[in-house]
């Protein structure tokens, strides 16, 4: 049996991070950009939410990510070029989207149970995968307390789980070209409050439809995956940061903002709201096997289906 308490791991913890995008040169002066300036990589939907004063207050987003290590990389969210570890990139991205959400961090090398906030909506951001050689069955995986708690939260609907889909250009739940399988992703398939997040090249509009980033995993033919799969724009050309690692934090921020509006909703209700209000008309040649439920739309999620 595989153990994943990291001393014995046959599984490889792998942040689904930036690649293939050259690091941006640091500007000579760092422009002063406030935390809630709408950056070019963001959807314009966010401006209306911020204008109304909703920035994720009352919610907690916990990042299970890499916060210790020796492999920093460069990028720029529009607040100044930096070189830092993966976990700091993902947390800062969400902090720019939902600046009043409480941000908690949990180093994924710990392997310990991930704690949830006692009150308010909980969101977990998982911009990482647990890879191992394909072919093991679910009952052969011996999860650490960390993944055991995450999977439990997703299945029992205790937290919105925003999980990066993967950067291998394959369907979710299938093996990569190098023969690896993301067993964490597999374990979350069918969980009531899990969302798999793929990456678009840009934010889509009806006039300028978006396409899936070449690296992004797709929803595939599994209907269960399709019904929990969203896509969002990851504009690496302006940030230097590519990968579904940076798609999931946007959904985490959206979930927090929705949780601010619907303060009494359960994580599963917030999850379903994001999934059912995704747009298909902003995507080029929409197909559920590629885009799942479609491009997440904060505006749609906040608006009523009908009113009279």
């Amino acid at each position: 049996m595989l153990r994943t308490n990291h001393a014995l791991a046959g599984l490889i913890l792998l942040p689904l991070a930036a690649f293939a995008v050259p690091a941006l040169a640091a500007p000579k002066t760092t422009p002063a950009i406030t935390a809630n300036a709408l950056q070019s990589w963001m959807s314009s939907d966010l401006q209306a939410a911020w204008t109304a004063g909703y920035k994720g207050q009352g919610t907690t987003i916990t990042f299970v990510d890499e916060f210790s290590g020796s492999d920093p990389f460069s990028g720029n969210w529009g607040t100044g070029a930096k070189t830092q570890l993966h976990g700091y990139w993902t947390t800062q991205e969400t902090a720019l989207v939902a600046s009043l959400a409480t941000i908690a961090t949990h180093d994924f090398n710990l392997g310990t149970t991930v704690a949830l906030a006692p009150t308010g909506l909980n969101v977990l951001n998982l911009s990482y995968a647990m890879f191992a050689r394909a072919g093991y069955s679910a009952n052969q995986i011996g999860w650490s307390n960390q993944e055991t708690s995450i999977i439990s939260y997703a299945r029992s609907g205790l937290a919105v789980i925003s999980k990066a889909a993967g950067n291998d250009s394959v369907a979710m739940g299938t093996r990569t070209r190098s023969g690896l399988q993301d067993y964490l992703g597999d374990a979350l398939i069918g969980a009531q409050s899990a969302i798999f997040v793929g990456a678009l090249n840009t934010n889509g509009t009806t006039a300028k439809k978006a396409t899936l980033a070449s690296y992004s995993d797709t929803a595939g033919t599994n209907k269960t995956v399709q019904s929990h799969f969203l896509v969002v724009g990851v504009q690496a050309s302006t940030t230097g940061l590519a990968g579904t690692s940076f798609a999931a934090p946007i959904i985490s921020g959206y979930a927090a903002i929705i949780g601010s509006k619907f303060a009494t909703w359960t994580p599963t209700q917030v999850t379903n709201r994001l999934l059912t209000t995704a747009r298909k008309d902003t995507l080029l040649n929409y197909n559920a096997t590629i885009y799942g439920m479609g491009e997440a739309s904060l505006t749609n999620a906040l608006a009523p289906n009908s009113i009279h």
Binding site: A48, A49, A52, G53, Y54, T206, I257, S260, K261, F262, A263, T264, W265, Q269, N272, R273, T276, T277, R279, D281, S297, T299, N300, A301, L302, A303, P304, N305, S306, I307, H308
Partner: protein, 201 residues
């Protein structure tokens, strides 16, 4: 049908106002003898509360689009806050002597799908003095009764069943229940006092 009903009610209200005037006219006509006179001094449509509601009618938002194919449908506020008959007001001055008169007026109120402005009456007086032969100091006092603006809520479906919300804020990032705190519930200005001083050159 709703449109026809609104027009009917508006015209009925206007007819009642003019009928009241027709009844009052003979009773007041004595004032037109001697030093006294009765003059129509103002007639207009709109007002502070009517203008406020009219301003709201220019907004709108997209619905979630869950129930439709293609782009999300747009919900215009114009459907809720427009009216075919804006608040109509008329005001008269009953001059009792050279320096004192009584003002009184009526307004019809107005009604839209999501609001109502009650009819109102206005009573007041105007008095003036001449501190210098070529100067006039004028005090105008007017009070207003009724004319309350009430905004009605909507019923919105966010995918979890219908709930009562403020129509205008249903798509804002505000808790649906909290939006009800922002329903308009306004009185018009109840008391107006104006003091003017003019000099003839």
């Amino acid at each position: 049908v709703a449109w026809a009903h609104r027009v009917y009610r508006a015209w009925l209200r206007a007819a009642l106002v003019w009928a009241a005037l027709a009844i009052l006219w003979p009773a007041l006509s004595y004032a037109q003898s001697g030093q006294r006179s009765l003059d129509l001094i103002d007639i207009h449509q709109g007002g502070d509360l009517s203008d406020l509601v009219h301003f709201l009618s220019f907004g709108g938002y997209e619905l979630s689009g869950v129930d439709t194919d293609g782009p999300p449908p747009f919900q215009s506020f114009g459907d809720w806050y427009n009216t075919y008959w804006r608040d109509f007001s008329a005001e008269w001055l009953l001059t009792l002597d050279d320096n004192f008169g009584i003002t009184f007026g009526l307004s019809t109120g107005e009604r839209g799908e999501k609001y109502r402005i009650d009819p109102s009456i206005e009573l007041g007086f105007i008095t003036q003095a001449h501190p210098r032969p070529n100067a006039t100091l004028t005090l105008t006092v007017a009070t207003n009764y009724w004319g309350h603006l009430t905004e009605y809520p909507c019923s919105a479906d966010y995918g979890q069943g219908f709930q009562t919300v403020n129509c205008r804020l249903a798509a804002d990032p505000v808790d649906p229940a909290e939006t009800l705190n922002y329903l308009l519930n306004e009185d018009p200005n109840r008391l107006s006092i104006r003091l003017t001083y003019s000099v003839d050159f």
